[in-house]
């Protein structure tokens, strides 16, 4: 992890992303940015705004709607020595380029015996639906975590967003970069100078002795809010942000869980074969059982995301649900405490409002 040399200032996540990209493009002429809509006046919710003016159309360009071929082009360009950043406004669209990402990008370094490298960053947004429904609401990172050769990161704050972006661009491997739209307006202190956040190191965001909460991406924020609610019930939760999902620092989670003896993983996706399954499995197989660590997961309801508001509310985890699940783990299942509804309501993250 390279250390920032200045104190920094408050910056939004979206601006931190853009700043990280701009600094790398400045530093390294091999870096280029492309994808549907990166060069329009909305600039991927602002995260690419201004880059076309700064770096010109050879290094910042939109594409035809051809996700599969564009991914192949990115991979080939990366093999040839360039460093592409390929942007998708929704992670759902990565389903159109799984073949290139998994059959080529993930495997090329290995399957050609080290002869090539694929320094590729694939940015994609995930979100909380706002009526977007079934096909515009998925967070598919566990599919990429499954496959050796890919790295997967999901920073939860502006500081990590910039540092991970710079690290991803400098990485000689394909990195799936996951950005939650609700995080875009959130601010953090971000150094002006360039720095990297190392992959494979989880961060303990809040200390606590009673339970370990692991949140992925935006769920870190919701876990921190759940932590507040839990304090009302006298429960001190430790909150961990894995930051990168592949490599995954399960050691930090394990150490915490061995101390708190309870582990709850909150994820932005379905639990089956998800990141939450992987974290539980690792803790279970490396000492968690012997230490009697009680474990649970919370994620999307095991159904397709419904756009109707009341159903949508039920579909997503939120701080109150996380707090309740945590309470049950700590105090036992019989006691069904729920956080004070008014405080819980306050703790909801303001939802993105369409149209997008």
């Amino acid at each position: 992890m390279s250390m920032p040399t200045d104190g920094g200032r408050l910056l939004r996540y979206v601006d931190a992303l853009r700043e990280g990209i701009a600094q790398e493009m400045e530093r390294d002429p091999r870096v280029f940015l492309f994808g549907l809509d990166v060069d329009d006046h909305k600039g991927i919710q602002g995260s690419t705004l201004g880059l076309l003016d700064q770096f010109g159309p050879e290094r910042v360009f939109g594409t035809p709607m051809s996700e599969d071929a564009m991914t192949g082009v990115a991979i080939g360009a990366a093999m040839a020595g360039l460093r592409p950043i390929h942007v998708h406004i929704r992670m759902d669209f990565l389903l159109l380029c799984m073949n290139q990402l998994i059959n080529i990008a993930a495997k090329a370094h290995s399957m050609y015996g080290g002869a090539v490298r694929v320094p590729l960053v694939v940015r994609s947004m995930i979100g909380k639906s706002w009526g977007q429904g079934a096909q515009h609401s998925q967070a598919l990172y566990s599919m990429f975590m499954h496959v050796p050769g890919l790295k997967v990161v999901a920073p939860s704050n502006a500081n990590d967003a910039k540092g991970c972006m710079i690290a991803a661009i400098r990485d000689d491997n394909p990195v799936i970069f996951v950005e939650h739209r609700l995080l875009y307006p959130t601010q953090a202190v971000v150094p002006e100078s360039s720095y990297t956040v190392e992959f494979g190191r989880a961060r303990v965001c809040a200390r606590g002795k009673d339970i370990t909460l692991v949140g992925v991406s935006n769920m870190v924020v919701e876990c921190l809010r759940a932590r507040e609610l839990l304090l009302d019930a006298g429960i001190e939760a430790e909150v961990i942000d894995p930051i990168s999902l592949a490599p995954l620092d399960s050691t930090t989670v394990l150490e915490s869980a061995l101390r708190t003896r309870r582990l709850l993983v909150a994820d932005n996706t379905w639990t089956n074969c998800g990141a939450s399954a992987e974290i539980l499995a690792r803790v279970a197989e490396s000492g968690g059982v012997e230490a009697g660590v009680r474990m649970a997961r919370i994620g999307f309801a095991a159904t397709t995301c419904p756009p109707s508001p009341p159903l949508e509310n039920e579909f997503y985890p939120n701080p109150a649900k996380i707090a309740s699940a945590a309470y049950a783990l700590v105090r036992g299942n019989n006691d069904d405490w729920a956080p004070d509804p008014e405080r819980a309501a306050l703790s909801y993250q303001l939802q993105f409002r369409g149209p997008f």
């Binding site: 996700e67 706002w130 977007q132 397709t304 419904p306 756009p307 109707s308 159903l311 039920e314």
Partner: protein
């Protein structure tokens, strides 16, 4: 161009007007936040859906894109069920599980729309395969945007449709933009019809968005398709008046301007066809349309939300 008898013109006008006004109402309601779903309006593009769907039989199918309100209504889709779906209510055509981009209406043979561009093209061909086997001369009219032609699946679909002589009418609504990207940034050439023809598929370009021309060309194609000639292709030039998604206009952001819009407004099917009707007749149609829309909105407002206990319904069919 065949001459159209008056009743046909009234029917066409009614459909155009219903779509235009429904979407204007959606745009009006939208800022109240009662429609919590991203809406892609067809205002300005109605002639394509109406011209094509008017030439279809009731037992034919239509496959709309996510910009689906126009084709849904043109094929006779239930207006109440559409508004209820926009509102996320249980009486919606997809019971609040779809939203604006996933209208469906199987009682009028309207295939469900999809939010992922291009994905419904082969799905519609699956219906066409079933119809071919059935052998009753039924056809699927499938809609796609100019942007969708950049997806590889479009070409795979053309090849398969032609190889199996499927009863499918491809309707490309070329509105010159994919979101904010103009054709010149996405298409190597504009020789789309010529390209489609190399698959052995008759392809016709209709440049002026004239609803009668669209209707008659579609009818001509449909006749051949029903006779077993295999698929046909229409490229209909048209223009989206509003922003890509959402209720507003967007002529002030640099990617296009009102000079481009104006000629399309001048030949707007709703006004020109409307102007050609007997004013009394027109007024009657307009009033009926307003009443129908008002009733649909009122019904949507009053309708029940889906029961949250049913969240896990419809994951699996049993």
């Amino acid at each position: 161009m065949p001459a159209y008898p008056a009743p046909d013109l009234v029917r066409l006008y009614r459909a155009l007007r219903l779509i235009r006004r429904s979407e204007e109402e959606i745009a009006r309601i939208y800022p109240t936040d009662k429609i919590k779903s991203p809406v892609h309006l067809s205002i300005g593009q109605e002639a394509v859906s109406v011209g094509v769907c008017d030439a279809l039989r009731a037992d034919d199918f239509v496959s709309p894109t996510y910009r689906c309100h126009a084709a849904y209504l043109a094929k006779g889709g239930d207006l109440k069920a559409m508004f209820a779906e926009l509102y996320g209510k249980a009486s919606g055509c997809a019971r609040g599980r779809g939203g604006s981009m996933h209208m469906i209406g199987l009682d009028h043979n309207i295939i469900g729309a999809s939010a992922v561009v291009g994905t419904t093209v082969p799905v519609a061909l699956g219906y066409a395969l079933a119809l071919k086997r059935e052998g009753k001369g039924r056809v699927v009219a499938l809609f796609l945007g100019d942007g969708a032609t950049e997806e590889g699946v479009f070409y795979e679909s053309l090849n398969f449709a032609s190889l199996h002589r499927l009863p499918a009418l491809f309707v490309c609504e070329n509105n010159f933009y994919a979101i904010h990207a103009p054709l010149a940034k996405r298409w190597a050439t504009a020789r789309l019809c010529e390209r489609v023809a190399t698959f052995g598929i008759p392809a016709h370009m209709i440049p002026q968005s004239d609803v009668l021309e669209i209707r008659s060309k579609a009818a001509e194609c449909l006749e051949a398709i029903r006779a077993g000639a295999g698929p046909a292709f229409l490229e209909c030039h048209t223009y989206r008046w509003r922003e890509h998604v959402g209720p507003g206009e967007d002529y002030d952001f640099g990617y296009r301007n009102r000079d481009e819009l104006r000629p399309w407004q001048d030949k707007d099917a709703v006004s020109t066809l409307g102007a050609s009707l007997d004013p009394g007749e027109r007024a009657r149609v307009d009033a009926a349309v307003e009443a129908e829309i008002a009733a649909a909105i009122e019904a949507a407002e009053q309708a029940e939300w889906p029961d949250t206990r049913e969240l896990h319904n419809y994951v699996y069919a049993d």
